[in-house]
Amino acid sequence: MEDKQEPKGIVLTEAQKKSRRERSIAIALALGVLVVLFFAVTMVKGPAVLVRPM
């Protein structure tokens, strides 16, 4: 007897899966850069990071 269920809803093609994965990795890297940037500037400025001149 076949246990495997037919997929329901939208099924992505291989090209769609590949591009979605690519975009997800790019977003993750961009967020990573943002976190590292805020951390690095906080280290550089110390408590002065809270002083934001106009």
Binding site: I10, L12, A15, S19, R20, L34, F38, V41, V49, P53
Partner: protein, 312 residues
């Protein structure tokens, strides 16, 4: 038969196949590279010590802000991009990215670049970056480009601001040196873009964009190119006698200016056939080198002084 089993005939949602390369193309990487370079020069010639991490943050934010401007420009102009051979391959006309996707991407980048520059560096620089993006997208792209032949003259403000933003990021204030850099790029923009418009005249006419050659004709454009080039050469050389930049820059600006002027005269004189086309293409290509070389001279001077202070 129950109501729940009723079948709705809904259109299948569009699933994006856009890759990272499509989103990178939206950023206009070639324009971005010139923005980054001019901003870097503005940052390097600024007085005082600026921590490398803050310098990197500033340049990154300016680059992302330029990318946001490019993306929002492509979002608004996708209809005319599809009509021009130079731009028909951009991600939106090709159907790789939809308009709403590009708008969301551009707005997100604009928000993060401005906020990050404001929070991590200073709010004056952040506000100036926001103004630059606003000017490029709203004033140039939306308000001017389809309305007036002076579109790229006024719109040139946005392209000329990056070194000013960088200077403000480094110093927290404004002075004459970055304004001189601003003026150089501002007066460089018309000869550069009108040279492009001369050999892409059919493209712009087809898309209904009122570039100067379309509205006033090629001969009037050639005269305007020459006049703006004369002003450009004078403005680019002025910082030397005024004492802001030294003789190395002054001589470089005169030599480069002489070549730029020679090519502009050539464009003015050759009005027909292949020779005219070749002259405009030459001016367009050289104008990119001109701006790059002029700013590179300033950059090299500062680097040489930093490595070997006894030189200058």
């Amino acid at each position: 038969m129950s109501i729940v089993e009723h079948q709705f005939d809904l259109a299948a949602p569009r699933i994006s196949e856009a890759g990272v390369a499509d989103y990178v193309a939206l950023l206009k990487p070639r324009v971005m590279s010139l923005v980054v370079f001019t901003a870097l020069v503005g940052l390097v010639i600024a007085p005082g010590h600026f921590h490398p991490v803050l310098a990197f943050t500033s340049i990154l934010c300016i680059a992302v802000g330029a990318g946001a401007s490019g993306t929002l420009n492509m979002w608004y102009e996708s209809d005319i991009d599809a009509l021009m051979s130079r731009t028909a391959n951009r991600p939106i006309p090709r159907g790789r990215v939809t308009g709403p996707e590009a708008l969301t991407f551009g707005m997100t980048l604009a928000f993060f670049s401005v906020m990050t520059l404001g929070i991590l560096v200073n709010w004056f620089a952040g506000a100036l970056l926001a103004f630059t993006i606003f000017f490029y997208v709203v004033i140039y792209t939306i308000a001017l480009k389809r309305w007036t032949a002076q579109n790229i003259v006024i719109g040139g403000v946005a392209g000329a601001l990056p070194p000013v933003v960088a200077w403000v990021a480094a110093t927290g204030s404004l002075s004459l040196e970055p304004i001189l850099l601003f003026l150089i790029i501002f007066f460089w923009t018309p000869p550069h873009f009108w040279a492009l418009a001369l050999f892409r005249n059919d493209d712009y006419a087809r898309a209904g964009v009122p570039m100067l050659p379309v509205v006033a004709g090629p001969d009037a454009t050639r005269l305007q190119i020459l006049l703006y080039t004369i002003v450009l050469v004078a403005v680019a050389a002025a910082p030397w006698p005024l004492g802001y930049f030294d003789a190395v820059y002054g001589i470089a600006s005169l030599l480069l200016g002489a070549a730029m002027l020679w090519l502009a005269i050539d464009v003015y004189r050759r009005r027909q056939g292949v020779a005219a086309l070749r002259a405009t293409r030459k001016l367009f290509a050289f104008s990119i080198f001109y701006l790059f070389a002029l700013f590179a001279t300033l950059l090299i001077e500062v680097l040489v002084r930093a490595i070997a202070p006894w030189v200058g």
